[in-house]
């Protein structure tokens, strides 16, 4: 009980302490944040060791949070292998990024605020990881969203940053609309057969298993539950069609992008799928939908990365694409593969982002076409970046190879079409990463700032090195085997056919990129011409943002404006003021009776009396 609580609350304590006490001292704040994270990491390690020693398999602790007749909500932890793995990723990668941030944000004025946010984020993320029930999970789900909002908008004076933060939060809110409905539906569904509704994952699992055994499952409702819950995933993990916030989120500081928008938070969707796998996997059509969305997102995002000039955005699209892989894997019924890829991806994508941060720190710009020659100027950054690139491309023996291979293998087994998509995506991944690396690091320097770039300080390169080591070696850690504790079903050896093909495709992509961007090879002019218009589609991201903008402006804002007008003219103008006007008019009418002329007053008495006698009495 104490260890997981400490694991969860150490970053929160750091956050509170920064806000309450060390606001004015930057070093202290950074120290507190790192300390909090380190405590969490140590706790994770301790739990991990307990697991490895076989002392525990699944741990659950909970305290009641809300107890009412008909509804019991608890606050609690459920620790299993996947949670520990995720917790390890969050605390481990997080700690490295915290340390890196000290260097990256050295010139920042309000660094205390930054570290407070980061600590708050770490707390929230760990909350998602550990939550034993969907409401607790949702609470932290929202909290990470808020932290992400605050961190993206960290440079709030930049309109684009402020807008990006808002957009991220809102898109996630739309997704959470579905997620929350899913929780509600699940809760009420679970209340069947004489039992109170619950949102506790273990209880649900038990109950569903029991019902499945009895053949009492309702696939329609369960399907809906799966789809609604998946909505949350689509938002948080930025799957198509709610992917639009992630590229914009790159407005935040780069370490934030690394931590939140690459390694951990966006992966929370995949993690959620792992947690509720027993629900979504109950209905095949839901699984198909999930797999399809994941696969589409993978290739879609990869295609966008092909023409993007901004280094962080390339990485962001790549993140989208890799998340697509993971979601697809979930949909294909391979949660272990997904979680494996999640882990390796966390390492190499964090590495890539931090590397990119280092570059940006040096050249003060995001445009890869204004870089070049950085490998020599910043060797440590360059070589670690290369490691990350290779890992991402899935080149043996880097970690990406193993995890991606597992996914493609699952696809090969379950859905050939998705396998083809996955393989093409792997090629595209290699191409755009190659493009990025070659242009930024190998081509001659394209600008003054690139000319005078310097290697970053040790506090930044240190984490890079650690991450590079992890990216390179994570494939050999036996992560799937560890996870297997949770999911006993699958393990395959490496299918060399699939692996070979994907590696070949990756090499082809890298090679093509090298041909075009290093050797200056230009395919025939005709081909270029033909590629122009798809290129425009790509650079405008298939106009998805524009479509959403149109919908936002015309439907949502239009409705808002219409209702505001309705309010103004119908409710206030007609109903309220109309009544008031009518009353005043009646007042004036009554007043007009008062002619001031004596005889008409006398007449009124006569008329009044007569009418009273006529109608009041009818003699």
């Amino acid at each position: 009980m104490v260890t997981p609580a400490l694991l969860l609350f150490a970053p929160l304590a750091a956050c509170a302490a920064i806000v309450g006490i060390t606001r004015r001292s930057r070093p202290l704040s950074a120290g507190l944040a790192i300390g909090g994270m380190a405590v969490s990491l140590l706790c994770t390690v301790r739990l991990f060791l307990e697991f490895l020693n076989g002392h525990a398999h699944e741990l659950q602790y909970s305290i009641p949070w809300i107890t009412l007749p008909g509804l019991t909500l608890e606050f609690g932890f459920l620790i299993n292998e996947a949670a520990l793995l995720m917790s390890g990723v969050v605390t481990g990668v997080g700690l490295l990024i915290f340390i890196y941030s000290v260097g990256y944000m050295a010139e920042e004025e309000h660094r205390s605020r930054y570290f407070a946010y980061l600590s708050g984020f770490a707390f929230s993320m760990l909350g998602i990881v550990l939550a034993n029930n969907l409401v607790t999970l949702f609470i932290f789900w929202e909290l990470v969203g808020a932290c992400s909002y605050l961190l993206i908008g960290y440079w709030y004076q930049k309109p684009s940053a402020a807008a990006a933060g808002k957009k991220a939060f809102l898109v996630n809110r739309i997704a959470d609309f579905g997620f929350l409905l899913g929780i509600l539906l699940l809760w009420s569904y679970s209340a069947g057969h004489g039992e109170a509704g619950t949102v506790n994952l273990l209880a649900l699992q038990e109950r569903l298993a029991h019902w499945a055994a009895a053949g009492q499952l309702d696939p329609t409702i369960l399907g809906w539950i799966g789809v609604l819950l998946f909505c949350g995933v689509v938002g948080k993990s930025a799957q198509f069609p709610l992917h639009v916030w992630l590229p914009d989120a790159m407005e935040g500081p780069t370490p934030v992008s690394a931590l939140i928008h690459a390694a951990t938070m966006v992966a929370a969707g995949v993690y959620l799928l792992a947690r509720i796998f027993f629900i979504v996997s109950a209905v095949p059509s839901t699984m198909e939908l999930i797999a399809a969305i994941g696969g589409f997102t993978a290739i879609f995002a990869a295609s966008l990365a092909l023409v993007e000039p901004d280094i962080k955005r390339i990485l962001a699209f790549s993140t989208l694409s890799q998340l697509g892989y993971m979601v697809m894997a979930m949909g294909l019924g391979a949660p272990v593969a997904a979680m494996f890829h999640l882990t390796t991806h966390a390492f190499f994508k964090a590495l890539l982002f931090l590397g990119a941060g280092s570059v940006i720190h040096a050249v003060h710009g995001n445009d890869i076409w204004k870089m070049g020659g950085l490998l020599k100027k910043m060797p440590l950054t360059g070589w670690t970046f290369a490691v990350g690139t290779l890992a991402l491309c899935g080149i043996f023996p880097f970690s990406g190879f193993f995890s991606k291979d597992e996914i493609l293998l699952a696809a090969m087994e379950h859905n050939r079409f998705l396998w083809v998509i996955g393989t093409i995506t792997a090629g595209m991944t290699a191409f755009y990463m190659g493009r990025l690396f070659f242009v930024a690091f190998l081509r001659p320097a394209a600008s003054d700032s690139a000319q005078h770039a310097h290697e970053s300080p040790a506090v930044m390169t240190g984490p890079l090195v650690v991450l590079a080591l992890l990216s390179a070696a994570a494939g050999f850690f036996g992560i799937p085997a560890f996870l297997q504790g949770a999911h006993h079903a699958e393990h395959h050896g490496i299918n060399w056919g699939v692996a070979g093909l994907s590696t070949a495709v990756a090499f082809a992509g890298l090679g093509l990129a090298g041909l075009i961007y290093l050797k200056g090879w230009r395919p025939a002019a005709g081909l270029l011409k033909k590629l122009e218009s798809p290129g425009r589609w790509l650079s405008r991201k298939f106009f998805v943002d524009e479509i959403y903008g149109w919908i936002n402006w015309n439907l949502q804002q239009g409705l808002a404006r219409f209702l505001a007008l309705f309010e103004r003219w119908v409710i206030i103008g007609f109903m309220v003021n109309g009544t008031a006007k009518l009353t005043q008019l009646a007042g004036r009418a009554v007043r007009r009776l008062q002619t001031g002329q004596l005889q008409s007053y006398a007449l009124s008495i006569l008329v009044g009396l007569t009418l009273i006698l006529l109608w009041g009495w009818r003699p």
Partner: protein
Amino acid sequence: MIHPALFYSFSALTLLGALGAVAARHPMRAVLSLTVSLFGLSGLFVGLGAHFVAVIQILLYAGAILILFLFVVMLVESPETERMNIRNIWVKLLGIGFGAVLLRILWRVIGAGGEPPIAPHAVEGTVEAVGRELLTTYALPFEAASILLLVGIVGAIVLAKRKVT
């Protein structure tokens, strides 16, 4: 009970006098016409056995009030300048119309009421009988009436007097 011939003639006198008073162009004529009407009324009173009241009517009304009217008529001496305007006509028309309706209602009620039996032991309103009642049973209203008259007097004085310097 009053003899029909006397009743009809006094009634005619009363009503015609009243009509004349209302319709007369000049106030002077109206006042005189009203005097006639009041005499007719006194006649009816006598016929109903209300001798004291009949006398008082002549004395007080015809003798005092109408004289007061005459004084005022002569004092203000303003010929009726009744300009015709639309509202006036409407008021008059409506007045007459509703007056007729009201009259019709009264008529029906009075007719419907039938004829309550005239008390066999008809009390004669002699001076003595009325006077005794006034000073015994009705002593309080009698005293109050004196104050009422005081109000009338004070009121007339207050209103008519010129500004106090």
